[in-house]
């Protein structure tokens, strides 16, 4: 905490800045490449032996225009957004209460429950997908948004619960007890004390869940197969041919990344480190 505001020796500063610069280069290099290709005109890609320029000769947003006027891509994109957001919502709705109970109470069979919860993720998706999809078909949930959201929730829930347990567990018991002594009931204590203090952890879980759902292919594939209009981005990509021009692929990739980045940035505001600092000595 205190180290943040400490002045640094110049030599040390230079080393640090170099390090930061290199790290940025490694992280942002591919991003730059993607963006560059996505706004390239064909002459900047097929240069006929000339080295490929650092920035396209005639930058253009044509690929994006094409993508978003293509009704299929637009629908697929929105499907992904909807499925991911609802997955996040449902996972938190189910996961937070579970994490609260498991993190704050010594209920009998707690260890077994935890094991059962994590067991969902102990099999490779490819092994569990068949029985689960079969089950969903019986329930009439295949080829529906609900089915995909439920499946993704199933996959995300163990993580949400485990991250949530950590978040709730780390809140000092005395904060809760202090609230009780001051007259707050269990619900008030949860909503005014425990939940706000667990938010940083839960935000991390939300980002993770969004990513998981956004990226998910296997379950989506089996559940949505045969109903094009609910396809998500991963299924759409599956249908893309290798022959597509590079700039189109790059534009698709950018479109794939932007929502994740936007969502993460929105949620990250809640991931303040050290939220409990100053509460107990």
């Amino acid at each position: 905490m205190q180290g943040k505001n400490m002045p640094m020796a110049t030599g040390k500063k230079i080393i640090w800045l170099t390090g930061v610069f290199l790290a940025l280069l490694i992280v942002l290099g591919p991003v730059y490449m993607l963006v560059k290709y996505s706004v390239s005109d064909l002459s900047s890609i097929n240069t006929g032996g000339e080295p490929i320029p650092l920035w396209p000769y005639h930058p253009t947003l044509r690929m994006y225009e094409f993508l978003f006027t293509d009704s299929q891509f637009y629908r697929v994109f929105m499907n992904s957004v909807i499925v991911s957001l609802f997955t996040v919502l449902l996972s938190l709705l189910l996961g937070v209460p579970a994490a609260y109970i498991l993190g704050r109470y010594q209920i009998p069979g707690r260890k077994l429950l935890l094991l059962a919860i994590i067991s969902v993720r102990m099999f490779p998706d490819i092994a569990s997908v068949i029985p689960i999809v079969e089950f969903f078909i019986k329930l009439g949930l295949h080829q529906t948004y609900t089915g995909v959201v439920l499946a993704h929730t199933l996959l995300a829930l163990p993580y949400v619960i485990f991250i949530g347990i950590g978040a709730f567990e780390s809140i000092p018991h005395e904060l809760e007890q202090q609230a009780w002594v001051m007259g707050a009931g269990k619900f008030q204590t949860f909503f005014k004390i425990l939940f706000p203090l667990a938010i940083p952890g839960l935000a991390a879980a939300a980002i993770y869940t969004f990513l998981l759902s956004w990226d998910e292919f296997i379950f989506s594939y089996f559940l949505m197969f045969g109903r094009q209009e609910i396809f998500t981005l991963t299924l759409y990509l599956n249908g893309i041919k290798y022959a597509e021009p590079q700039n189109l692929l790059a534009a698709i990739s950018v479109c794939l990344s932007v929502p994740v980045i936007v969502f993460s940035m929105m949620v990250q505001r809640y991931m303040v480190a050290g939220i409990s600092t100053g509460s107990v000595k």
């Binding site: 007890q177 001051m182 009931g185 008030q188 050290g274 100053g278 509460s279 107990v280």
Partner: protein, 374 residues
């Protein structure tokens, strides 16, 4: 009215008996201290009163009402935890107002209370800070403020000053005394710092292994320890203890110890005749052993003693001298600081016979002020 009556409290953690048939009565508006060594059960007792720990045996009455089964939310007590337990995501203002909001107090009254407590505890200007943005002493005052605005029947304070430096602690003690004077609440204060206990409270309950050893005014705890444990615990530096036997020598009642025969004052000596031969432990405070050169008038119940100085410990305004008798018994006593004392120096001292405490070797009880022991 918020008198607190604790009848035969018991608490077990597993097979470990932490509170053992403990009795305590606190008058309405009284400021008492629970004092005792680490792990004696002070926090547990406080938590039982607050409703955070179940009462395994015994009864709790506050203001005449039976409290055993009342949940913490309904006890109308306020507690300041040893750790402060400030809500880290709330500003100082919201921390202080939390309890009032829960109780749906109207805005005007909340504002009034906030202003009152901010002034009382010198917290003005900090309302919008988060707990992590204020100092330790300020946090402690916020914790206290949060408890005070609730207008609780009973205020439970668990070592609220334990992490403050000496100077801050002094100020805090002053403040607490002033607050108690102003608000007149029943206060149960926990500490293992006896200076705090002796300076602040109207009565002290010294707890040992989950039982009350003695419950008395600070002066009585100091002057008339009822058990050897109390004598060992209260007072600093600690008492000198000598094993001995009650005897009557040349018409004086006293105790024969390894450093010689110690005479007692007349009143008590008279009671000793019936106890001749009884094995006792004599306790003498370092403050009750005097450097002979400095005292003009002596009593015939004083016992003289020659000590060789081993070393001198500077304690600020006074010094603690550690000396040995001819037969190498260590005795500690106090002198004023400007005394020029060096090691190996010979010092004639005398022990004030009125200030020798006698405890039965077996029962460890004070042989004079415990009913039935004489």
């Amino acid at each position: 009215m918020a008198d607190v009556v604790i009848n035969s409290f018991s608490k077990k953690f597993g097979s470990n008996i932490v509170i053992d048939r403990l009795n305590l009565q606190i008058n309405n508006g009284e400021f008492i201290t629970l004092l005792g060594p680490s792990g004696c059960g002070k926090t547990t007792l406080l938590r039982m009163i607050a409703g955070l720990e179940s009462i395994d045996g015994g009864e709790l009455f506050i203001g005449g009402k039976y409290y055993n089964n009342l949940p913490a939310q309904k006890r109308h007590l306020a507690m300041v935890f040893q750790s402060y337990a400030l809500f880290p995501h709330m500003s100082v203002r919201n921390n202080i107002l939390f309890g009032l909001k829960i109780k749906n107090v109207n805005k005007a009254k909340m504002q009034y209370k906030l202003t009152w407590v901010l002034n009382l505890l010198y917290l003005k200007g900090l309302e919008d800070r988060l707990p992590r943005e204020i100092s330790g002493g300020q946090r402690q005052r916020v914790a206290l403020a949060r408890a005070l605005v609730l207008d609780p029947d009973v205020l439970l304070l668990d070592e609220p000053l334990s992490n403050l430096d000496a100077a801050l602690r002094e100020t805090a003690i002053e403040e607490l005394k002033r607050i108690h004077h102003q608000v007149g609440k029943t206060i149960i204060y926990v500490t293992h710092n006896q200076v705090e206990a002796l300076t602040m409270s109207e009565r002290i309950a010294l707890i040992n292994k989950g039982k009350v050893e003695q419950y008395d005014r600070p002066k009585a705890m100091y002057d008339d320890p009822k058990t050897l444990f109390v004598a060992e615990f209260i007072g600093s530096p600690p008492m000198n203890f000598l094993e001995g036997e009650i005897q009557i020598q040349e018409g004086f009642g006293g105790v024969n110890t390894s450093i010689g025969f110690l005479k007692l004052d007349k009143d008590r000596a008279a009671k000793l005749e019936a106890m001749s031969g009884r094995k006792v432990i004599a306790g003498i405070r370092p403050q009750n052993i005097y450097f002979s050169e400095h005292v003009i008038r002596r009593r015939h119940t004083d016992t003289s003693l020659d000590l060789i100085v081993e070393f001198v410990e500077n304690m600020g305004d006074r010094s603690l001298v550690i000396g040995r008798t001819r037969n190498s018994i260590v005795m500690r006593f106090m002198v004023t600081r400007d005394e020029n004392i060096t090691s190996d120096q010979k010092m004639p001292v005398f022990i004030d016979g009125r200030c020798i405490h006698l405890f039965d070797t077996m029962s460890r009880l004070n042989i004079f002020n415990n009913d039935g022991s004489i």
